[in-house]
Symmetry: C2
Subunit: 381 residues, 2 copies
DNA sequence: GTGAAAGCGCTAACAG
DNA sequence: CTGTTAGCGCTTTCAC
């Protein structure tokens, strides 16, 4: 492939002129600029980013690392790409398949390739590579949930109030025996959601019954078992709050196996909208996260860190979730058939059919609060 | 970050010894090797891949570019990562959101960053960047479908027989009026599928009725409209063959709107298994592609090209699809509740509930046939 | 407004 | 078995 030197020779100029033409880093006479452009065209020249990175020590690349691929992360990715693209960064997408070892590999790979910053939805716990990143003040922004022991920027939905809102909704519908399927406690988000569940019960004067919460069920197959278990309690719960979208899949199957109708036999509220939610009947009441906004915010934060002070104390941005009330909680307005515009929808959260937003809109100006490392450690989201 | 020189100084050796220790490219005495390793540990040294890439002109990185993210591509990605990882390549995942311009951007980005090769599911038509890639004999392997005018390695399901198999199945079930929703003709795969549909009809002596095929509907919302249209024909089709997984979503909604029951009012066969297929009732009869195998094969091919002769004529590998007969075509065995193992399933194609495989197993040894550029152009898959 | 030249951190002859 | 050294292709001082 042609190099800047080839172009320079052909245009009869120095390599530095070629460089300046392509980067606009200093004035170049129109005559020379035209000659350079012509020569570069003829040669099919494309500046070698690898060499540039070596020289400038910045790759204009961001790593985006997620444990899994589903609608939630894809929507977040959209926000990431939009902000990154506008700021001249390319995005390297890495998918760890829920494997912390893979996560380490990808983080190392990104660091070795001199990605300028990393946006990460952690697969679980703290590990060496995270330690190294944090120690070297590598621009790193977490989203979705925090990692205990790690002080880093974070953008996430405030899970406690989100869960509270969901459970309060069920209580309002008259339910008093509400089962909860929770994700694995390695995720700080799971714990926060259980906490919101508890608070909603307490506020309604309903005693907390430990046997109605099954945790450690982040995967679909485990959540199926969790629901089978919950539904064997007597008296049987009349409502179910299920902690994430993967788990909704398993939960639905369990209910079908048991022959329980939603919402007549059990009311249902899930977490995270999923693309197939619209095809389920009844339509699902769900806590929806402002996915696109999460992506935008996280990217802005990582760029701030790259281009600003890398030693600034960690920030935490919390965004609000919305409760999309539909049929499965017995509270929805049953409307026209599901909307189909999802795949095109580039606005904040995915558009949803027959929805009635219960809580406030997702904050447009996310509340930002500073938090020192210690505080961050004590208040997982 | 520490460099090889820092390590060398600290260990009292030359940089070349450091390099050889890390690459195993020549013998190093145990004494020196230990000193190097110790020094590198103390300094937290990580070889700078950017510099290495500049020097060696190979990045050990592969680009994986897809138009969309869904279960199909994620499964393919698994195969890609496994083979690439085993061969020491990292994978850079790029998602073009169905936008050919984005595709160009990503291809350029990959080339500028010196990815060693690219695995691409094209978003549509030929464009400049593809031209440049092909002209410079850049290692490129297409999968899923070909691009007219572009001669490149290709691995794809043989779409014509796959569609034929699906439609023949419906005919066998007694249907004679079968509607088809086809993807956009910019995809060679769409055209091949329609061809298979026609052949199945012809073989059964059923006249081809143009009004029963609606094309250009690769997106969910368009396929909904397509189904509404098809179902307004009189007499109404008694069966439907729908050309890809995105379209199944829209089709299901249309049928629900019309209040038509599957398979009693309309029999249904879709293309591509999707993760939410198991939650639909009735369970869907689908043409399933050997996704994992497609990923493995494509990656092997691109690595062959990188490490072998870049000017070898283009090869085309075709893999066989399977027909998973379930309830929606009225032909299934209704079995136990849907399997939940999908997300863990790392074997060839995703495990499927209540399935009866109709055609032969996906070929274990993919048939490879050489094809010169001209022939490749004339025989899109 | 332009060019010469010194590296960025690594690898790989080449020389010992 | 080990060290010296010349680049890979670019950016960026420095000098004109």
């Amino acid at each position: 492939m042609a190099t800047a030197r080839d172009v320079a020779r052909r245009a009869g100029v120095s390599t530095s002129t070629v460089s300046h033409v392509f980067n606009g880093t200093r004035g170049v006479s129109k005559k020379l600029r035209d000659r350079v452009l012509a020569a570069s065209d003829e040669l099919g020249f494309e500046p070698n980013i690898v060499a540039r990175t070596l020289k400038t020590n910045q790759s204009r690349t961001l790593g985006f690392v997620v444990p899994d691929v589903n609608a939630f992360y894809i929507d977040v990715l959209r926000g990431v790409e939009d902000v990154a693209g506008a700021a001249g960064y390319a995005v390297m997408f890495c998918h760890t398949h829920d494997d912390p070892t893979q996560e380490q590999n990808y983080l190392r790979l990104l660091r070795a390739r001199r990605a300028d910053g990393i946006i990460l939805s952690p697969a679980g716990t703290y590990h060496d590579e995270l330690d190294r990143l944090s120690r070297s003040a590598y621009p790193l922004v977490l989203f979705d949930c925090s990692v205990p022991g790690l002080s880093a920027d974070l953008v996430a939905v405030d899970n406690e109030p989100a869960a509270h809102m969901a459970v309060a909704h069920l209580i309002e519908k008259g339910h008093r025996r509400i089962g909860m399927v929770s994700g694995d406690y390695v995720f700080s988000s799971s714990e926060r959601r259980v906490r919101g569940y508890r608070r909603a019960l307490e506020e309604a004067g309903i005693p907390f019954d430990e046997s109605l919460v099954v945790s450690g069920a982040s995967r679909a197959d485990l959540s199926r078992r969790a629901v089978l278990e919950l539904m064997s309690r007597s008296p049987r719960p009349t409502a179910l709050f299920v902690g994430n979208n993967q788990m909704t899949a398993g939960a639905m199957i369990a209910l079908q196996e048991l022959g329980l109708a939603v919402p007549d036999d059990v009311a249902y509220v899930g977490f995270d909208d999923v693309d197939w939610a619209s095809f389920l009947r009844p339509q699902m009441t769900m806590v929806a996260q402002p996915t696109y906004e999460i992506g935008r915010t996280a990217t802005q934060m990582v760029i701030d860190r790259i281009e600003g002070d890398p030693d600034r104390p960690a920030r935490r941005v919390s965004l609000e979730a919305k409760l999309m009330v539909r049929e499965s909680s017995g509270g929805g307005v049953s409307l026209a058939p599901a909307s189909l515009a999802q795949t095109q929808d580039r606005t904040s959260s995915r558009r949803l059919p027959s929805e009635r937003v219960v809580l406030a809109e997702a904050a447009r100006r996310p509340r930002v609060r500073a938090a020192g490392p210690v505080r961050a450690r004590q208040q997982p989201m």
